[in-house]
Symmetry: C2
Subunit: 99 residues, 2 copies
DNA sequence: TAAACTGGTTTACAATATAAACCAATAAAA
DNA sequence: TTTTATTGGTTTATATTGTAAACCAGTTTA
C-alpha cells in the first residue's frame, strides 16, 4: 500500500538540501543558505543530521582566510533520495499503489 | 526556487489519508486505519487536523447500532493536495525549479 | 580600536507526531 | 446475567523535530 517515507528526507529543508546536492555535486554553506532561504542556524542543524546519517559529506576548510564548509552528496544519500522519491509516488498517484 | 510545502499535508499519515480520499470519494475510520496501518489514536488526531483545516469533512453517524465516522475530501482539500504535489516537484526534479 | 559583517554553531523553545491509556457501547461467553 | 472481549473511537502524555534567537571567533571597514 503506502511505502514508509524516510523521516530524514521527509523534511522540507533537508529535502531541499539533498535536492540541490543531487544536481550540483558540491555546494558550500553560503550557497545552500541562499538557495534554500533557510536561516544559518537551521541549515547548520540539518546539514549535521544529513552528515551524521552519512547522506552527505561535509568538509570544513579555508578559502583564503575565511572558513568554508563544503557539502557533497554520498552514494548512500543518492540511494536514499531515489528510494524516497519512489516511495512518495505511492502517495501522490493512486495508480502507484498496489492496494 | 523551492515552493514551500503545506505543513498540513507534509506529514506521512495525513498525506496518506488525503491520498486515499482523493481516489475514493468517501471512506470511514476503519477503512482508513486499515489502509494506512496507523494506530487509531494517531489517525484520530490527524483526521481532526485535516477536518479543522477544512481539507476534509467528517460525519459521525451510525450503521445499525454501531458508530461510524465517514470522511470525505473537500474542494479545499483537493486544491491543497494538487498544490502540494506541484510544489513537491521542485524538490524532486531539478528541472522543475527555476533557479 | 570600535563597529559591523561573515560564516557559522549552540541552545532554547515551540510545534509535531505518535502511541498508550482510556472510554462508552455492543457482542460473546460463562 | 454478570463478566469478558471487541469495536470504534478520543484524550493525554511523551518523545522527536524543526526553527530561530543568541551566541562566537575571525575579518574587514570606518
Amino acid at each position: 500500500m503506502f511505502e514508509p517515507l524516510d523521516p530524514l528526507l521527509h523534511s522540507e529543508l533537508r529535502l531541499a538540501v539533498i535536492s540541490i546536492l543531487i544536481s550540483v555535486e558540491e555546494a558550500d554553506f553560503v550557497y545552500l543558505r541562499e538557495k534554500t532561504g533557510a536561516t544559518a542556524g537551521n541549515l547548520s542543524v540539518q546539514i549535521n543530521k544529513l552528515n551524521e546519517a552519512g547522506y552527505i559529506k561535509v568538509e570544513r576548510g579555508f578559502i583564503g582566510k575565511r572558513t568554508r564548509t563544503v557539502c557533497k552528496i554520498s552514494s548512500k544519500g543518492i540511494d536514499a533520495f531515489e528510494k524516497y522519491v519512489e516511495a512518495l509516488k505511492s502517495y501522490l498517484d493512486p495508480r502507484d499503489r498496489t492496494d
